[in-house]
Symmetry: C2
Subunit: 266 residues, 2 copies
């Protein structure tokens, strides 16, 4: 409750951390799919098999194009998954084999494991730089980074409908996400001196959120509610939003903790 409250219930002044050991072995890979729904189906199968993925990331074809231009890579221009497994040597080998079979079942290609630290670093650097790569794909543009989350079973349609929306708009919006959680971002690139583009960006963002809620998802996956998504809280939480306010008043009756954010106001 406290961690999800965005500072509205109080400040964390002391933390006790549970430490976990470095994994004995790590393997990472990237693989491509013809369609988004095949990539998502591979992820769903992996989760249902109980394979413990340490990371699983998704980038769409538009993001791949931006990453290629930025990092000098030549990844095929289709949706891709980037995945990492942790464990013992034999455990990671076994997980990699099983994941490889699942990927092949869904028509995945270009599948290769990076077990050397420098190869893994290169792979994840590509992902971590994706925002800058996407931003650089349209010099001078401003980025509106959207953030929604849906049940994984609805993820393929959420992404596909969002891509269609973006294609019908005057602006660009490569998509990437944390597919294991059903969470994704469109990086909407617009010219902030062009009123039509500004309006298109905000309209696309609004449509993403209402779509996420219609699919049983949430207005924000990890970026938070703050002020920007306050207007969606009633639709998402209904009577639960009043309960959140009751808890806020119980813990912070003077409303001094991050006032104005996230909760129904006054």
């Amino acid at each position: 409750m406290f961690v999800g409250a965005e500072g509205t219930l109080g400040l964390i002044t002391e933390l006790t951390l549970r430490l976990r050991g470095q994994p004995e072995a790590t393997a990472a890979a990237i693989c491509g799919f013809a369609q988004m729904d095949e990539a998502v189906a591979a992820v769903i199968d992996t989760i249902q098999m109980g394979l413990p993925m340490a990371r699983i990331e998704f980038i769409d074809a538009a993001s791949v194009a931006a990453v290629n231009a930025w990092s000098g890579t030549d990844i095929p221009l289709t949706p891709h998954l980037m995945v990492e497994f942790h464990g013992s040597d034999s455990g990671v080998r076994e997980q990699a084999e099983t994941f490889g079979e699942i990927v092949a079942d869904h028509g995945g290609t270009g599948f290769d494991w990076a077990t050397r630290p420098e190869d893994r670093s290169a792979l994840w650097a590509m992902r971590h730089n994706a925002y800058y790569a996407i931003k650089a794909s349209r010099p001078g543009s401003v980025a509106l980074v959207t953030d929604i989350c849906v049940p994984i079973s609805r993820l393929a349609e959420a992404v596909t409908q969002t891509q269609a929306d973006i294609a019908a708009s005057p602006i660009a919006g490569p998509i990437l996400g944390h597919v294991g959680d059903g969470n994704f971002h469109a990086i909407l690139l617009y010219d902030d001196q062009n009123p039509a583009e500004v309006a298109a960006a905000h309209d696309l963002s609004h449509r993403m959120v209402t779509r996420a809620l219609a699919l049983g998802g949430t207005a924000t996956g990890e970026h938070g509610v703050g002020l920007g998504k306050l207007d969606y809280m009633q639709a998402e939480h209904g009577a639960g939003w009043d309960v959140m306010r009751s808890l806020k008043l119980a813990l912070d009756p003077g409303n001094i903790m991050n006032p104005g954010k996230m909760l129904r106001q006054g």
Copy 2:
């Protein structure tokens, strides 16, 4: 917050469960140690290695004696660990090997893996019947089941001091626990027609709780606060107990949800 509130915040009327697949492979084992602190040291090493134990249970020598009499087994009369690993075939084999090495490092003996379902069932039936075995070890007695939890680093001293306390009392109290959580129970067996034994049982239980709190633990590990441990809440939670009451009043201003339990009253 809701799950730990013992019904004081409301009723659960609908649950959505996350299902997990049956593990592909399972292996269970029992092994003995000369002293309690060696068994606990083996568990601490296992956790620090990151070995994902599915279950890890502890039974003391007195519990072993009762289990032997009840189940017709002849387990040596020393502290024992019972452990189970889940995973793939090779994963479980690897975990079993590593755990075997840790046990040997701490002088554990009699170590053997049961991978056949019927052998595992027999092993866990022994554990699940331990309460009845202990109760039957003193026919006609009443059992006071205690329940405390301490940081695992303090578990060996908590158990050893509790055993010394029980040995100095007029009653018996075999000990067993969920050692991976630092949680254990003494099953205090007393004659409820004998005022000295009744007093001894309640005094031992009280001393266990105050010891747990002194060691940085909690008055109850899993059995709950309810009415029986209400008197320890102030000592355990301090000002936090008032916060719990504020949350209760926010969610249940009429105090109709499991009134009188767990929280500071009126």
